[in-house]
Symmetry: C2
Subunit: 371 residues, 2 copies
């Protein structure tokens, strides 16, 4: 067994995206204790940075010490109690995973389905809310990573509140890449990832909970099944001002990386980052369409940072992706679930979202397709 030296790739898949060298450097700084006063100061800054990019004043805004899937589970495990009715919108893989979370926790999932590639239908959700007055939660994916479709989180959250539901929102792929306003849109519980539009390494998951959501957590009838994800305990470590008490050992170096990525995002400005993702999407779109390649998602609902496009007729999916990887060190994403073998997912997230990468991708793709 020898030291591992990875190839240097350009990551244009659905995540991880390219990690900026500044963030890689930050990860390699000397590890210190997870209760060191210097570390605790960095934790406070990290919370403030996350509040700024989530656009929230929620006190409970912090990174969960595990990947986005665990961020999802943190929201459901803390908010869903056995027999709770939860309306869950499925328009791709991650809505399905939400449903899986609900049923494993003993909740009852009321499913609102939309075709993969479409946004969540506001009308269908309103009907489900009307039909299920005892429902307590509405859960949906803001940015469906399996298709690249974006849903109208603002409208869905306001609607949920009219029917006395709190909301759980998946923003793994949207945070930092497309408009997202937790407080203004009245999102109650939200989770994201670090390896998408924040250009940091995978492994931790920023979350934010409103007071309304926290109240539901505090008033639970049954304890949270997961000790590791129980926010009542986690907050003893991440809570502000309070004496920090040991819960689990935080992933110190990964948090260095997240901190640096937040510094960079605030230097750029969150709105500027959204605009950069949009304008680079347009460049890529124009190039792809000029090659006769079509998008899965209609323009209105399309995420600029994740471009799902149909694989042209007669083209060998695996072979093209292998050519890009082997000849150009370029990774693009395969389709997931219903779209496996039918679409490619081309990510333009975070540090990956740069003109030079678009030029590389278009040129390499032309070559691989023999155009």
């Amino acid at each position: 067994m020898k030291s591992f030296n990875p190839p240097v790739r350009t990551l244009m898949g659905p995540g991880p995206s390219d990690v900026h060298p500044r963030i890689l450097s930050a990860m390699a700084r000397p590890t210190i204790g997870h209760l060191d006063p210097a570390f605790v100061g960095m934790m406070d800054e990290t919370k403030e940075g996350l509040q700024a990019i989530f656009k929230t004043e929620n006190e409970l805004t912090m990174p969960v010490s595990a990947p986005g899937s665990a961020g999802m589970e943190t929201c459901f495990a803390n908010l869903v109690e056995p027999n709770d009715k939860v309306i869950v919108c499925i328009n791709g893989v991650f809505g399905m995973r939400m449903k899986e979370n609900i049923t494993r926790l003993g909740g009852e999932a009321i499913v609102v389905e939309d075709d993969w590639g479409n946004a969540v239908s506001v009308d269908k959700v309103e009907q489900a809310l009307k039909d299920n007055p005892e429902a307590k939660i509405l859960a949906f994916v803001h940015a469906e990573t399996s298709t690249g479709a974006q849903s109208d989180a603002k409208t869905l959250c306001k609607l949920a509140h009219q029917y006395d539901c709190i909301t759980i929102v998946d923003a793994v792929t949207s945070l930092g890449g497309t408009e997202l306003r937790v407080d203004e849109w009245e999102i109650d519980a939200i989770y994201s990832g670090t390896q998408k539009c924040l250009s940091a390494m995978p492994g931790i998951s920023p979350i934010s909970f409103s007071e309304r959501a926290l109240t539901k957590v505090k008033n639970r009838q049954s304890p949270v099944t997961s000790w590791f994800l129980d926010l009542n305990l986690v907050m003893g470590y991440w809570g502000k001002g309070a004496k920090r008490t040991y819960h689990h050992t935080a992933p110190v170096n990964t948090l260095y990386g997240l901190h640096e990525s937040l510094v960079m995002m605030l230097e750029e400005g969150v709105e500027n980052s959204w605009a950069r993702h949009q304008s680079n999407h347009e460049l890529l779109r124009d190039g792809l369409e000029a090659m006769g390649i079509n998008f899965l998602v209609n323009e209105k609902d399309r995420l600029p940072q994740l471009n799902s496009v149909f694989i042209p007729e007669g083209v060998d999916d695996a072979q093209v992706r292998a050519t890009l990887l082997n000849d150009y060190n370029l990774e693009i994403g395969a389709g997931l679930g219903a779209y496996a073998g039918k679409v490619w997912r081309i990510g333009l997230m975070g540090y990956t979202s740069r003109k030079e990468n678009i030029a590389l991708c278009l040129s390499a793709l032309k070559d691989a397709l023999g155009k």
Copy 2:
């Protein structure tokens, strides 16, 4: 908000321990995709390296993508079903956490208690096994990080099998630092951490499951409550030979670090690492005893890598630790739970276990104590 540059500490607490510069460098290598063929090859090597240091041929040997507490939860969440009787040994904080896992999962915990600082009593465990023939699992901590006591895992596991129980063993602090033989000792499910005797960064948790344990997982009556930790799903990504299917996004850079730490451990030789931890413990012990400082755990049951010593009469705990940290950049650990304010925990784990650190610690402690 500015880039964070941590102070350079010597970490002689209960973990994280000092991360070797080779491992820090490995963490900063370029991120690649978690389904990249190059990454998949590294995953296979990581599994083999873990098998070598766990001393097991268990096919299910892999790192969980979250800290040691989540490794613990992976074992309990997969093996405990509602109403299962589980005998759990409590001789410190982590035995208590095991019990908490069991009850949250709907299991019934039968507690075998020993004084903090003592090893788990084999006689008491045998009595509990006799008294509870319907018990299915015996759970105990091999190396209790809250006290530095080591229990006789070999004897306890063989005993459990005589009574048809499978075993769950906490080896967070023992792996790589003290004798541990998963197959020879017949351990069924074991979890550890990377930030102790492996000298890697915190954030992931190596586990290993025997065939006997896997059979119990596969024959569950109810699904695992946690989607994220369900081994039936995780194995689709980490399973050998099989086509790797996406489950969650692996913490790529943290796994680079673990891989490098395994390369280093195998270069040194696991048995040599055990011997180094023992001989350095003896050096530190002699120095501390010469200062009139006494150990919490008797010599026979003492972990060489974690030295719990009584704070001398009249000494201000917090002030001494602050002096060490501020004047010497040296971190030692506070007492936990029942021993908060009464003991210090001085770690000599992994890369921290070096003569120069012992010299520093003894000298700085003399100064801080005014000796």
